[in-house]
């Protein structure tokens, strides 16, 4: 009887230690910023060769659409079209400053890497990003932080004018209702057209004039801008 129990335990143990071919993930995302919203998040599990973005590379049209206007549709379609799995818009809308969305369940299936993006609003083309994090095969809780990137596709003029479509200058909106108007515009002399770490916004303290429609007391940030926890089941 005892031997039998031990054998059973050994068999069970060896089954449980087999490398996982599918991982059930429970994810939470916290917006660490003081006054910036995240547009609907895209959380994607994909193979090792896929990326939503890569620092130092040109943004894809799908990424540009997300970074300038918050539209994750094309990125989502690209991932699922390549056999990946996604969770689109887990916060069911905007993720407010200092807010957290949790208990996001994602079955990564055969997919080995995880990526996350959302536009940081109000900005011209800033986004929060995780690029192809290798999903651990060992069960556990993994916590890390994410930086804000500049898609490198639009000048950071800091004018709020409703411009969210690709190729349209300006910032779509300030969801907190704390944006200014009539800004003359910040001169963005950056020549970097690749995805890069965002330099942050300038802003000013004049809501009716000045160079920027952003408020330096509300809309500035330092990296990192998000904290992510992934529980690998």
């Amino acid at each position: 009887m005892n031997v039998n129990h031990v054998t059973k335990a050994l068999i069970l143990g060896s089954l449980m230690s087999l490398p996982a071919t599918a991982a059930e993930l429970e994810i939470s995302v916290t917006n660490l910023t003081h006054g910036n919203y995240f547009t609907p998040l895209l959380i994607a599990a994909h193979d090792m060769d896929s990326h939503l973005f890569q620092a130092g590379e040109m943004a894809t049209p799908a990424l540009q659409k997300m970074a300038e206007g918050g539209d994750i549709g094309d990125l989502d379609a690209a991932v699922t079209g390549a056999g990946g799995v996604t969770m689109a818009n887990p916060a069911m809308g905007l993720l407010a400053p200092s807010a957290k969305v949790e208990s996001i369940m994602l079955d990564s299936g055969e997919m080995t890497h995880l990526s996350i993006t959302a536009m940081v609003l109000p900005t011209n083309d800033a986004f929060v990003g995780l690029d192809a994090w290798k999903i651990p095969t060992e069960a556990g809780t993994y916590t890390f932080t994410l930086n804000a990137y500049d898609a490198g596709t639009e000048a950071n003029d800091e004018i709020i004018n409703g411009g969210g479509a690709v190729g349209t200058p300006g910032i779509p909106a300030a969801p907190g209702g704390d944006g200014g108007m009539n800004a003359t515009g910040v001169m963005d002399s950056s020549s970097n057209d690749k995805v890069h770490i965002h330099p942050g916004v300038l802003g000013d303290t004049d809501v009716n004039a000045g160079t920027s429609d952003l408020d330096s007391r509300i809309h500035r940030w330092l990296n990192p801008v998000a904290r992510v926890t992934v529980v690998v089941k």
């Binding site: 003081h34 200092s98 500035r220 330092l222």
Partner: protein
Amino acid sequence: MNYPKLNFKYSATAIIAFAAISLAGCSDNDNDSPAPVQPPVVAPVMQDYSVMITNLTANQPMSPVAVVAQESGSRLWSTGMAASVALETLAESGDSSGLTGETGVNELFSGDGVLVPGATQSITMSLEQSSVADLSIVTMLVNTNDAFAGTTGFNLSTLAVDDATTLRVIAYDAGTEANSEEKGTIPGPADGGEGFNAVRDDNDKVHGHPGVISADDGLADSVLSASHRFDNPVMIIKITRTK
């Protein structure tokens, strides 16, 4: 017929054994008996750690660093949640003493004086093995309204003797005081203004600090200048288990 006899025999043995124990326990009735045996004193097994902290900022002195030994799973703050009054007090005035009253806090070790920019401070602590669990390290950036830096909930059991780990931590905003940077609102040497104030006039959620603006960068009423600005990480923490 055998069973009652066996039972009796066992019972008799039990009674004799019990009597012997009882007699042994009555030694104080007998003047000639040896002194009562004291239970052996087991010295608690201690685990020693050193925590070295370096201030990476340009011009943000840090309040005496608080190193807090805690029960497993307890936290001094959680991003996205409101700060406790003890944390608010630390973040607005630099006074860490209130942290001892927080849930799950076993012991507070405090750094020796203000940690000036560029300086490194070492705090040693000795913990009973049975109480080794989580560690938090926290300090105020004193030339701000309510910025603090540190880490909470580091699991000490991950360190074997002579193991060390290095953390580079960010500045948080306690969310309890507006970042006005105005004269009279900042306790550090840049102002010499007010520390703790119970009024909460920011978003009341702990979040990543957006940085200070300063008068040099366009905030007209700020008492801060360009050198008070900071970027992450603001502090390096090296935790070593020495015993």
